[in-house]
Assembly symmetry: D2
Homo-oligomer: 342 residues x 4
């Protein structure tokens, strides 16, 4: 099978390397990026990538290519996804599919007609720590789930220019955590309430966004969840999950830079969590591509489909409304707005 990669920035290259290193019987035939770097061109050559385009339509037009990875900027995810499906390609699309519910619904409709697989890039599902946690919860080891707690804090806020086009913290950052709530619980979210604020950087507030939040969620079963977000944790990338149930609790802790521990008269000093998301989640990025390829080979449905791309956006919109109107908002209310039957 041959693969084309659309968008060849940091994450496009990560996926390309995963394919080359871990996916047997897969050839990365082409990459397309209008702003591709010289270094990337060299990389492509050294790694046997035959074609380097600036126009991604050339990838879609290549009949030999079966699979497309969409790694371009978020605002193009929808249109490229649409065209790729129409070209009959299997699609891996970085998260989020779109900030627009209508667009995701359109992709969903297309997928019902076209016999192609579609996977959304919620990489954290493939992190060995969170995947183990989810597996243990699903196995009943902690009994019925009562409380799910997610701590999700970035090491540093994005540039204000990005904040302005990000769709807001809930759709840009918390969307991963909404996905994690669904992934770990195996349940849908029913209602959400938010307390939020601007504490990290006033400029974020001026851009119409917040940078700190406590998001409470009620799940269909009645189980509760809470996410706490910050755009800046001084000590690094803080990514923890706690699932508490009738028989016990399981926690996925941070991965630290290394295992050294220094004891002096001032205390016992461990290292900070891994700071950079690519370092923290490299194993997960590799694993998601391996499982995507596996799904295609076995013609089964993907681990994280278009519905998994839709639901977190709906929760994100409910969270936005909750913050604005200072009241709990049901997901059904958002679904109704878009004519979705829940």
């Amino acid at each position: 099978m041959k693969v084309g990669i659309i968008g060849f920035g940091r994450i496009g290259k990560v996926h390309a390397e995963s394919l080359i290193r871990y996916a047997s019987g897969i050839e990365v035939k082409a990459i397309a990026d209008p702003f591709i770097s010289e270094e990337s061109k060299l990389w492509a050559k050294a790694n046997g990538v035959k074609e380097v385009y600036s126009d991604y339509e050339k990838i879609l037009a290549d009949k030999e290519i079966d699979i497309v990875l969409i790694c371009c900027p978020t605002d193009q995810h929808f249109i490229v996804s649409k065209k790729a499906i129409l070209s009959g390609k299997h699609v891996f699309c970085e998260k989020p599919v779109s900030h627009s519910v209508e667009e995701i619904l359109e992709i969903k409709k297309l997928l019902e007609k076209y016999n192609v697989l579609y996977q959304v890039g919620f990489n954290r599902r493939f992190d060995k720590n969170f995947a183990t946690l989810k597996e243990k919860v699903a196995s009943g080891m902690i009994g019925d789930l009562h409380i799910l707690k997610i701590t999700s804090r970035d090491p540093a806020p994005p540039p204000i220019s990005y904040v302005k086009v990000s769709g807001g913290m809930f759709l840009d950052m918390t969307i991963h955590d909404f996905d994690m709530v669904r992934f770990v619980s195996g349940e849908e979210v029913e209602e959400v309430f938010v307390f939020g604020g601007v504490m990290v950087d006033e400029e974020i507030g001026k851009a119409g966004d917040i940078d700190t939040a406590i998001i409470s969620l009620k799940l269909k079963s009645g189980a509760l969840a809470v996410i706490d977000n910050s755009r800046e944790a001084a000590y690094g990338y803080d990514q923890r999950v706690e699932a508490f149930g009738s028989k016990g609790q399981i926690i996925a802790k941070n991965e630290l830079e290394n295992t050294t521990v220094i004891a002096t008269k001032d205390g016992i000093l461990s290292r900070t969590p891994k700071y950079f998301f690519l370092e923290r989640y490299m194993q997960a990025y590799t694993e998601e591509i391996k499982q995507f390829v596996e799904s295609i080979k076995s013609k089964s449905c993907t681990v994280c489909g278009v519905d998994d791309g839709l639901k977190p956006v709906l929760i994100g919109l409910a969270a936005k409304k909750s913050l604005k109107e200072n009241r709990p908002v049901k997901i059904a209310e958002i679904e109704k707005e878009y004519g979705i039957k829940s």
Copy 2:
């Protein structure tokens, strides 16, 4: 100085032992309990306690006694507090002063007239872990406080008979956590929102209470807090605090039964948290009595006064209303109901 202890159950005896062991210049002269055990009588004799009464009025009538500890059932805290103040005694009263705001306000008014000290038994403030955490937060070590997270779960639910008279989970159990929010942040709570449910025991639901909750709080400064409660944690008494700020985070972790760690092919097994609240908080119980005695000796105000007894009750009532009406509730709304100027 001479002390009388009213109510000589488990906690009355703990305080008596703290006084004898750690408070120099203090004599426990009398104890009063209508249901005192034979064992307690023997204990009193062996420890030089001169008088054992069934009627606590005899303690209040004893002119030699300067200090009274109120350790009887909660529903008598108010009336005994009132009479003790009127008798001119310094008072240490177990939490809560009362579930009735009016009664606490009455105590407050009395204390403005009578020149006696009054301390409420929020023992967790004196726990070395939480006290260190608070001290570090106050010192600015983590910068401005952004998010405060409290995990507070009991090892097992109380009997249903107790649940019925407990005032509800928020006034019985979460009240400690509301106090902890105020203690650690050094701030007042402005608004509260609750998602709760009955997950541990249906009987608790039938008794009109809940057993599991996520309580979000907004503080005056805009900082956020969240408490998660459960009436039953299979692994024991789970009592953790996380304070996250602009410069870092400080966590107070659980105290474990012992420090042993066993590694086998199945994993690396540490001990569970200390299970029993008296074991977990023994150091704190001792410390609160030491500091109370210190306050009296130095004629300074107490570390945890009647206002500290009032505020958590107001937050608890707001939480109750939030749960009932499924909306965020401002503390000011509760204060207005009771004619309190905030």
Copy 3:
């Protein structure tokens, strides 16, 4: 039963408080110390101790007194033990009984004639962490014991004046670890080899002692043990035990000052181990006295008898010889010197 305490420094008072607080049916009738402080006299009065002597013979002469605790300086342990046994008292003697093998053998012989109980104060056996570790090893949880590792480092070296009369590091400090090897393994030591040196303070070397050592031990079963000692750990009192066996490993870790953990950009900082031996081992001191009293009440033999006082001294002497002669030394060689049949 009535108790007399001979030597009323720090540790004498600790034991007195344990007796008063935890041992029912026990009265501390008298204390004897030629250098007793005014504060201690006040304490005795407040706690109902009837007699305060400077001459300990008065305690031995008191027919009402059944039990004697020997807490005076080490060089008097032997003579007071001897006289106490001859007076028919049950004896608790702080460690070590003596640095002289002959003297301990004399005590041993006396105990065969006199029907009294004798316990040596190896308090660490009663520490909840080490006691749990020992219990797990004995239960077979880690299978056959292969390697036992003890880390034992003091927070600061003793004064040089003390070093000179201490009997040397092995008899003064490592003796606890030799006891721990026997206690955890349930076995006798067969052979010992030492590498040691002076690294902490040159004055210790000038006084003829060392301050740092690696002590390897071979046990009767063939299992191996190793102790590492330092007179000064900058981060506090380091007291850890690791038992490794055919089915796994069990570690007793240090107890930290408190459970707080601070995360900043510099790392994640936990607290240092408890610094002061009385704080670290308070629970163990209490427990050893409780069990001593229990042994007397039940007329069973003590948990840590005179032989347990003798064996570590023999190992200590073998260690001294090993260091001096730079060769492994068998305990049997030392026993032979003293005519002991092993």
Copy 4:
């Protein structure tokens, strides 16, 4: 620069992948292995390796090839090293260079004549945990080094057939730990004493080897070190280092399988250490090859040269002698046997 890899088993492939993935300007031109698998041939093709030989002499004869990696069985390391140097290739040789001191000395002599670089594969030096530990020790963060403790236990013993040709545990397994002592301390070992035994498997004893040992070492500065080895740790691959000095201690702990922690009534269960050496040390294997390539590019000497290959063998021989003769053995004694000036 072009590379040839001699021996293409597990570790040869690991190094090949590191070169392809991380070393820019490097081409893996040829691999040679008389027993190469079909899978490896496919791998070679897919990764652009031009030549696959069964006879390694063809690699040595290829004038285009600058660098040779020796990954064949240990008993051929010497002869292949020798021929590769004579062919003017830079050499990376897996540990150990040889079990024969004479052979290593011969390689050393050759290297003095031939202008090629030679690196020995002591991969653990490149592990991020141990490398950080070493760096902190070298920086003086813990002051003067007093005690170095290494725990090194395999998850399972090798087959008896391997034990018989392994050179014995000290030259096969402990050799890594001897290297670690030198690496962390930055010092030479002066003297060694061993207690050892057969506890894991009697067959190992019958094959003339041991499986469990405590190895004490004295360093030139007087600092002490101790290694404890076992051929089988039930809970996995146990690889820890503790460096204790005048100002504190630094520990490199095990890397666990994942960060999940499960709390139930039975305790708090973390995962076991990574079990498989390739998983545990993958980062180190990559790093050592990167640094080797870097050394060649910068024409500097290698991080771990032939002397670093020699010294641990001398210590290993001293350890063997110590075990056999039950006495401490000086490294100088071994050096003298081989006419080496220390």
